[in-house]
């Protein structure tokens, strides 16, 4: 697992919530520079899979590697837990996440949101962090909102601010959890455009999404999840033109 080009590896990940087994053995590896779209009907485990990668959910079993380092898990009182929280924190700081509900820290201005983790987690000097934050706010197209509070922004602007916050960590992988699902239809475009730019820059992204256009045109790889299992895995051209499963053909038809 020391291949430098592999960012994230999942091996046989299982996760259940009480009686409901959400992930039934997922294996997956993301090379650096890949843009992976994870598709699937609701309840298929897409978000849970993404949240297992940065350990917002702890897998019940299976192995997880992030940039060559295995996340150490232990069993205690019938539950799986991280063996070393310091390691989890270190790994999380290499994986940024963009949430469906943006989750900006509401009592902080946009600039404070963007510099918070770089300054306090990565210990970057504040002036340097501010400089970097302004660059990323510029990149996502809201340089004039640095001193505004999250509630004063539209949903699309909030999500772009959240993307700037994710970028400011200069992460190895950015995890997107349905980033456009909470947005009004006319605001979806501005967020997708920013994500398109990031993909063109060669950033590693894993995107749980319902945006078929994005999956087809921007991502380099598409994964289709259904019933807690990977049903399709391949380039958009392969997967969309020649679905291997009946389920995926039906899914595409239903989405269009």
């Amino acid at each position: 697992m020391n291949d430098r080009n592999i960012s994230v590896v999942l091996e046989d990940i299982h996760k259940r919530f009480d009686a409901n087994e959400v992930l039934k053995g997922i294996s997956l590896s993301a090379r650096s520079g890949e843009v992976i779209s994870v598709l699937g009907p609701s309840g298929s485990g897409k978000s849970t899979l993404l949240r297992c990668i940065n350990l917002l959910e702890i897998p019940d079993s299976g192995r997880l590697f992030v940039s060559g380092e295995e996340v150490l898990l232990k069993r205690s009182r019938n539950r799986t837990m991280p063996a070393d929280m310091k390691q989890v924190e270190r790994i999380r700081s290499k994986l940024s996440m963009v949430f469906q509900q943006f989750n900006l820290w509401s009592h902080m201005t946009i600039l404070q949101n963007v510099i918070e983790a770089p300054v306090h987690v990565l210990k970057i000097p504040k002036d340097k962090a501010i400089q970097r934050a302004r660059m990323y706010l510029d990149k996502v197209g809201i340089p004039d909102k640095a001193d505004a509070y999250p509630v004063h922004l539209s949903g699309g602007q909030q999500q772009r601010a959240a993307i700037a916050r994710a970028l400011a960590m200069e992460p190895e992988v950015i995890l997107f959890d349905e980033p456009t699902s909470a947005l009004d239809p006319e605001l979806v475009g501005e967020v997708l455009q920013v994500m398109h730019t990031l993909a063109d820059e060669g950033r590693t992204m894993i995107v749980v999404t319902h945006e078929m256009g994005f999956a087809r045109e921007v991502s380099s790889r598409v994964i289709f999840l259904d019933g807690g299992l990977v049903m399709e895995d391949g380039s958009p051209a392969e997967v969309f033109e020649h679905p291997a499963t009946e389920r995926f053909s039906a899914f595409i038809k239903a989405m269009v």
Partner: protein
């Protein structure tokens, strides 16, 4: 009605004012310092830590402040363990006893206010902090508490005012606070109306100052909740 006797004796009221302000400020500050870690532990501690904290809060919210003060001032002297200890020089002073009871009392109420405010933190914001790689302690310090303090402020401003008025009880155990000064004037001249109206004016002035300061803090802390200045203000329905 003769207020000249008040003006002639105004010095006593200023002594009382000083005692009230010092007593209430110190107990509020110490109570808050006590309440913050307790509120955090109530939310994130395990059962064996939460249980004694709950018992402490239950006792101080479940009994009158006057009873608590009597227990400390009259009650502690009954135990040789305390009388023989190094703490006795403190507990034999009425002033210290009042301070001790007030601090624990406001600490209990404030812990409960903060506990609720912490619990109401938006879970998404907590997940964002975890996803950014923050340790639990960093997250509590940078995200949860700053956000909880803001939510707690209106309820806490009530607690500040209750504490100010509750401090009048200190006069019962010989302390010359504002009420104590009024009682001295009343017993000296038998003019209860002048004596206590003057006390009331002092308390009202202090309350006004507290309300003013809290308002100023609200303007600063609630900037993230205000409509933007270029937006028309929301008008009350007709």
């Amino acid at each position: 009605m003769d207020f000249t006797l008040i003006f002639e004796n105004i010095g006593i009221y200023f002594t009382g004012l000083q005692n009230t302000v010092v007593l209430v400020s110190i107990s509020l500050v110490l109570g808050l310092l006590l309440a913050v870690p307790l509120a955090v532990l109530l939310n994130y501690g395990n059962n064996s830590i939460r249980l004694p904290i709950r018992a402490y809060i239950y006792f101080f919210r479940g009994t009158p402040l006057l009873v608590q003060m009597f227990l400390v001032y009259y009650g502690f002297g009954q135990f040789d363990l305390i009388k023989d200890s190094l703490l006795w020089p403190f507990f034999k002073e009425a002033y210290f006893c009042a301070l001790f009871a007030f601090t624990l009392n406001t600490g209990a109420y404030t812990a409960e206010i903060l506990r609720g405010a912490i619990k109401a933190t938006n879970h998404g914001e907590i997940e964002a902090a975890m996803a950014a790689g923050m340790s639990k302690l960093l997250m509590i310090r940078r995200i949860i508490l700053p956000s909880a303090f803001r939510r707690a402020l209106p309820a806490y401003s009530n607690e500040i005012i209750f504490m100010l008025h509750g401090s009048a009880l200190a006069s019962v155990i010989t302390i010359v606070d504002i009420t104590g000064a009024a009682r001295i004037i009343n017993s000296r001249y038998y003019s209860p109306y002048e004596a206590f109206v003057t006390a009331a004016v002092f308390y009202m002035t202090l309350t006004f100052i507290i309300v003013f300061l809290v308002k100023k803090l609200e303007v600063r802390w609630f900037a993230h909740l205000q409509p933007q200045s270029n937006n028309p203000a929301i008008e009350a329905p007709p």
